[in-house]
Amino acid sequence: MKKILSIAVALLFALSLGACSQAKGPAEAAIKAAEDALNAGKADAMKYIPDQVKAAEDALKAAKDAFAKGDYAAATAAATSASAKVKDLAAAAAAKKAELTKAWGEQSELLPNMIAAIKSRVDVLSKSKKLPANLDKEKFEGAKNGLAEIDKTWGEASSAFKEGGLADALAKAKSVKEKAVEIMTTLGMTVPEAAKG
């Protein structure tokens, strides 16, 4: 009787080990698939949707943690969730890239026009014997310094765009637009419609 019981216990142990190793394989494969997919699109996605990349990374980490604890069912579920998040990354990154590219296109039409108009006015005012009403020497000097600043920042924004740093380029463009509006207002110029609001 004792021998039969020992055999039964050993059999149950073997069965549970088998079941465990059956769950381990799919979990391992699911984690590897999610990790491979994430690594393939991560670099591009990080430029446009870093928060979504982090969510996918967190899901993958949860899968790995569960796997390390031997909870293969949880590991598989977390890896499946990570894979779903990774699958959405490419489309979301492409959409964000298109949105930023469109915004850049608008700024790159508007801002050179504003800078050129300001330069033109500053050139003329520099030759003028007097300044117009509502513009004193101090304000004019401020406008000239501001022009040099936006000219430089616009150059940096253009370089950032060429290097693929769309978000950085747009952040710089935004500061150029705000400053250009301020200078045009100081100089009594009409701000283009696209720069309003």
């Binding site: 608008e106 039409e109 508007l110 026009n113 504003m114 050129a116 108009a117 033109s120 006015r121 050139d123 003329v124 005012l125 030759k127 003028s128 014997k129 007097k130 300044l131 117009p132 009403a133 513009l135 045009m184 009594g188 110029m189 009409t190 283009p192 419609e193 696209a194």
Partner: protein, 68 residues
């Protein structure tokens, strides 16, 4: 305000060209004084509008002039 500079002539919202619509009694010198503080700078406005002005003394009410 009637004396405000006018928006660009075209429909391009990115156009930053500066325009002035000529009012009754205005001369290029007065317009130059208004924008540049110096009536003597009227030649700058005249040169920028050579495509529409033949004579700096002949401007029409309602005419739109580029202000560099």
């Amino acid at each position: 305000m009637a004396d405000e500079p006018v928006q660009g002539k075209g429909n391009d919202p990115t156009d930053a060209t500066q325009w002035h619509e000529v009012k009754k009694g205005e001369t290029l010198s007065k317009i130059a004084e208004r924008y540049y503080g110096d009536p003597g700078m009227y030649t700058t406005i005249f040169e920028a509008n050579r495509d529409r002005l033949k004579d700096p003394n002949l401007i029409r009410i309602g005419q739109k002039l580029r202000i560099p």
